[in-house]
Amino acid sequence: MAKKDQYKNRIELVQGTLDMLILQTLQWGPQHGYGIVQALHTQSGEVLKVETGSLYPALHRLERQGWVRSEWKRTESNQRARYYQITAAGKKQLVSDHDRWQQVVKAIAAVMQVQTSGGE
């Protein structure tokens, strides 16, 4: 009960979208939290800036669900960091998340289309 209100994602990403984005980012190889933030930032054309308060809970939630696993490794600059890696189950989840997301996008697009054409 308390969990829901504990933290509101300030970018207001659609529920579940952050998970999908993280999994997508991890497709290209293991990455640490900071790396994921940077990657999403760059890849979104510097639009998306994921809050740490959303990112880390999401990462741990994904790990608990078995979609990613983590290990401590050294970075190139010899910094110890926790790397997250997508699992087979995570890949499956990504595919299904992606499908669903596409459907949602299509559906929303369809609605918006109707509205715009109706307006003319």
């Binding site: 939290g33 308060g53 608990r64």
Partner: protein
Amino acid sequence: MRIRRKRVKEIDEEIATHIAMATADRIARGESPQRAHQGAVNEFGNPLLVRETTWRMWGGEWWEHVVQDLRYAWRQMQRSSSFTLTVIVTLAVGIGAAMAMFTVVERVLLNSLPYENGGHLVAVEESGRKGDFPNVRWLDIQQWRFKARSFEEIGFYTRASGRPFLEGDSGAQQVTQQFVSSNLFQALGVRPALGQGFSNSEGQTFANGSNDNSVVLSDSVWRESFGARQDILGSVVRISGQPYTVVGVMPRSFAFPFPATKPQVWTAVALKESDSTRTSQSPTYQVIARLKREVKLSTAQAEMNAIQTDVAKQYTDRYLRDLVDSVKVQSYDDSLIQPEVRRALLSLFTASGLLWFIACVNVAGLLLTRGTVRQREVALRGALGASRMRIIQQLLLEGLMLSVGGSLLGLIFAVGLLKLFSHGLAMQLNVEGAMPGGKALIALLVLTMGSAIASALWPAVTSARVSIEPVLRQSAGQSSVSRSQYQTRSFLVILQIALSLVLLVSCGLLLRTIYALRHVPLGFRTDHIVVGSMAIPSYRFAGQNINKKLYEPLLEHARGLPGVESATLMTEVPLGRTYQMAFSFAAEGNSADAVKRRDFRAQFRAVGPDAQKVFGFKMLKGRFFNDGDIAGSQPVVVVNRAFVKQFSESDDPNKIMGQNLLSLDKGKPSIVIGVLDDTRQVSPADQSAPEIEVFLPQLVPGNFLYRASEGMAMDLAIRSSRDSSSLIPELRSLIAKTTPELADTNFTTMTQVVEDAYGSQQIMSRLLTVFGVSALLLCLSGIYGLLAQLVSQRTREIGVRVALGASRDQIFRLILSQAGRMMVVGTVAGLTLAWFTSHLVSGFLYGIATHDVMTMATVAVVLATGGLAAAWIPAKRAAAINPVEALRAE
């Protein structure tokens, strides 16, 4: 806990890494290290919040809080150990009482029978003009069996008379022997663990000849007498001298009838000629039947009533027919518990529940007080962001911990209480060695939770509702009690007073009952008498006169012991409840006179020489038996006053003197030579019943009374100036020398026999005294606690009053009047409540009315005195307040 710490550490490290990386990036972009770090930290947000939300993803934070709260509660408990102790002891009193009573109730009322689907078993009795008769003639059972469709199986049984002894591999042991129909075990749905049991050949499921000399042993007999020999099947064992072939051993838990008081054996009923008659001489059996799965009790009852109409018609003797004209089918489970015992147990259980509730209310009061003391702490937690729910949860957990403590101590109390009253429970409520078991522990768990909720919920909610700001603004240690809170607490005290009164009034009524019972003239002396109840192994004396062989030498030896004044024997000492014999006239016919004679029942006792010397029975008329009455002389009997009254319908003993009431032998009528004054025979509360006594030396082998009077049970009664504790061991060794079976003889004193005969009132009055006194103490501590708190919190106000000229007397009275008001309201409410609840115990009262004003007044006075005493100390303290100090102590 360790997992949690590790995880948190990892998250912290992850956060540190994140910030370090961001800092490094910023430095690479050309920021100064210090600004870079600051920027990274700012960008990151609130690390504590991130850590908390991230960690929460793993679940279990609820548990984490519980653990935190428990630790906190533990520290709180340690910090205020005297408060903790008070609460725990208070709860333990309530929980202990409730636990003990639950254990007893569970043992008696909730016990499941060791049979297959015990709920389908019913006891079938005949009833008629003179009430229910559990004893049914074989012909009737046979009819039921052929006609009734409600039952899967109808079995029957009867207890072998006397005291059977089974000769085992090493000596004889006393057993209970039941003659059972060969289908009885089938009806119970239990198969022997060893062997086949009785054979049910030729589709004849009733008793038949092929089983006549077979015996089924109980597990305990098999183990104790035969060392659990596997080859026991087929061997011949002797029961009271008769040979039987072992055909089975029952499973360990099995007992029938349930519960077993002695090791049990079962032999098959051997039907005789007389079984196919319907006369007053026909043998009778108790009937147990198994209902078909889908048949309801009421259906079976209706069917049996219809059948019984036909069955009763077959009685040619109208007198007997009127006694059996209907049938009562009741659950076998219910038939095992006497209604009086059930009511006594339920009353006691209710009383213990009440005590438990009083204890909870008391603790609720204590926790409320504590809530005021801890207002600041709670407010501070609230100010630091603890939610109201969290605070309630934490306070409830504290309550739970306290009640766990209370439960543990309560369990000890319960065991102690059960130990303390084990004799009374066994004697008066047939509860042998009850100790908390599995079900009781579940009940303990429920009690623990219940106590926590009942005592801590309200205080917790009240505390959590406190508004934060005003409390924090107050100076430390000066938390105030709001008017409404004081009212709440006085309400709790009043509730305790009222409920305690309910307990105390029932306790008072029973104490008065016991007092009245103790002053009932018993009609005989009870002091300085030692009683030994012997089970007579008469098979050892077959063909001999047991009088000459056993009793006369025994008495002679007993008289020879130092300090013994006189010694006698009787089939049963008064109030003994060991071996009761009944006398009735052998009358026939249905004339009014004959019916009167046939209805006549008297207690029968065979007594030995010197019985009058030992017990001091008083004669109203004529003489008691004396040395002149011997085997060959004129047979004589003695009757009591009640006998005269009922027999001759007058108080004049002369009407019965010299009459012939029974014959010891054909052609040898005995005459009445004396009339005894009445004595209490079964219970001090029961009026004397008619009684007739014969003289042991006059009974010789061959007399029809000989076997029943001399060969089954005999009480040895010794009057001695010596202390029973030194005499009993000497008697025991003396008696064991006569014949080894008598070594198990149960010795007690006549005083104890009387004590045990007071019945359930005795145990009820004692337990209710314990409960009532506990309730009273709790209640007084409640009054004291509230006033003490009041005084300490109103120190300043009182100081001001004194400074303004109030006299010490006025202050003293002010505080006492607070107590007085609570007590008046509580007493009025309590007495009103007690007026209604005393009906619960009305069935147990003797010599006192249910609404006895004296008892109620006494109880109210006791409570008022105690209450004033409890208020005295705080009132004195208030009166002693020094205004200067009180005002300075800001």
